[in-house]
Amino acid sequence: MIALLMRDLRLATRAGGGFGLGLAFFLIVCTLVPFGVGPQGGTLALIAPGILWVGALLACLLSLDRIFALDWEDGSLDLLATAPLPLEGAVLVKAAAHWITTGLPLVAAAPVFGILLHLPGAAQPWLVAALALGTPALSMLGAFGAALTVGLRRGGLLMSLLVLPLYVPTLIFGAEAVRRGAAGGDGTTPLVLLAGITMAVLAAIPFAAAGALRVNLR
Amino acid sequence: MMVELGRYAVPVLTAWGISAALIVGLIVQTLAAGARARRALEEVERRG
């Protein structure tokens, strides 16, 4: 499992900066939004939690097709399916690799983007905590979507249609925690619910994703 | 038959109109697709 994780991470970093791209995209979103809504700090602070979360969602979505596509093309996915490691485990590892390359940098860099968008200082810890708890679910659900569409030639757009509705609960609770933090309140309740969703997703979705992969490998 | 709708005539008629269009559209599409599938199958069976 660890060998697979290391391999995926190496591939991601070698094939054109897996760490950088998601962050750069995130930065562009955070730069463009003020152009759209105007530079007033008050407005920006109000919508900052939503922008940051939607930006994280999109940054995650952009790199999803890479989870299985490359392995599918060169046939290593077939090897993984017949390996002693259960396919569920392989899916989990691949989602983890995706999270480390896209989710983790976002979590680490989120406070900087928060400052760009005038997010109140009180909300910063909530933002980091919510992203840290929520983005693993995004990667895992994304792996499910990628598993569903892996055999398709033009699966990218379809995958967004399949995956984005699944992100709704995570987005709601994640943004709510940050918003409550920004209002100086206590965001624990949405944060706990968010963590619950992530745990459930991590426990259950690998089976669904592995099932979908097996169908596509048939 | 003509019912007095009062000041809500526009929303009521819009809602009924759009719904009728959608549902009739679905029915027509279903029938058309059914006829097409039936014809295609007959065609293939005749050939086979």
Binding site: G211, N216 | P11
Partner: protein, 241 residues
């Protein structure tokens, strides 16, 4: 005789062909009758003539949810027992469900305009229906995209399972997110806000009409899907020969 016999496409074609005219006739009678009855109901003292929208809005919303549940059951049957008719019925039901969701959304928006003063409100019920609509779209898109019919049935089945959980989850998440303007269920058993009989009985008839319409369309579309599948199989045999 077991219910599983209907999983045999030939048997299904025969039975559904025999039943179809009756169901269609029942739908053709009950739906216009219910709608006409609803159309002729008196104005509500509070909502005026807009109550007439209810006879479309409530049955469509009810069917939108129930069709998804039906698809879930059909998908489960396919995944567990691998009856082709079941998978095809789930596929046939999806566009009907999507249209019902759209009808519920549109009538709701048009109704909300005079009542709440806005076309669209990010209200929990409205928002969950929008999400449900997205799920229908994704489900249909996946069916259309996968070429191998058995793989398509498997993948959409899994998507339907996961989607059901998340649709439910979204429903509660959205509740948490925003308390809405929308009233509770129109036909609740709880005392208090009971609907007057003037509206209740035509509404029941409309619901029955919508259900029968769904059944008619479902049978028609499932038959179409079976014919399509058979055509494709025959063509494939020709190519091989």
């Amino acid at each position: 005789m077991s219910i599983w016999e209907y999983a045999n496409p030939v048997k299904f074609m025969r039975t559904s062909g025999a039943v179809l005219p009756w169901v269609a006739a029942a739908a053709a009678v009950s739906l216009p009758a219910g709608l006409l009855w609803g159309w002729l109901t008196p104005e509500d003292y509070k909502q005026g003539a807009t109550v007439k929208i209810m006879f479309l809005h409530v049955p469509a919303a009810m069917m939108a949810i129930n069709i998804w549940v039906m698809m879930l059951v059909a998908s489960l049957i396919w995944l567990v027992r691998r009856h082709h008719v079941s998978a095809l019925a789930a596929r046939a039901a999806a566009p009907i469900g999507a249209v019902m969701t759209l009808v519920a959304l549109v009538t709701g928006a048009v109704w909300g305009q005079p009542m709440w003063g806005t076309w669209w409100e990010w209200d929990p019920r409205l928002t969950s229906f929008l999400i449900l609509f997205l799920f229908y779209l994704g489900y249909m898109a996946l069916w259309g995209a996968v070429e191998n019919p058995d793989s398509a049935a498997d993948l959409t089945g899994v998507l339907c399972l996961v989607g059901s959980v998340f649709a439910l989850l979204s429903r509660y998440a959205v509740n948490f997110w925003n308390q809405g303007l929308h009233q509770g269920a129109s036909l609740s058993i709880a005392p208090g806000e009971r609907m007057s009989a003037v509206y209740k009985y035509p509404l029941y008839l409309c619901m029955a009409g919508f259900f029968l319409l769904f059944l008619t369309l479902l049978l028609l579309r499932t038959r179409t899907e079976i014919r399509r599948r058979r055509t494709a199989a025959l063509l494939a045999r020709e190519v091989r020969a």
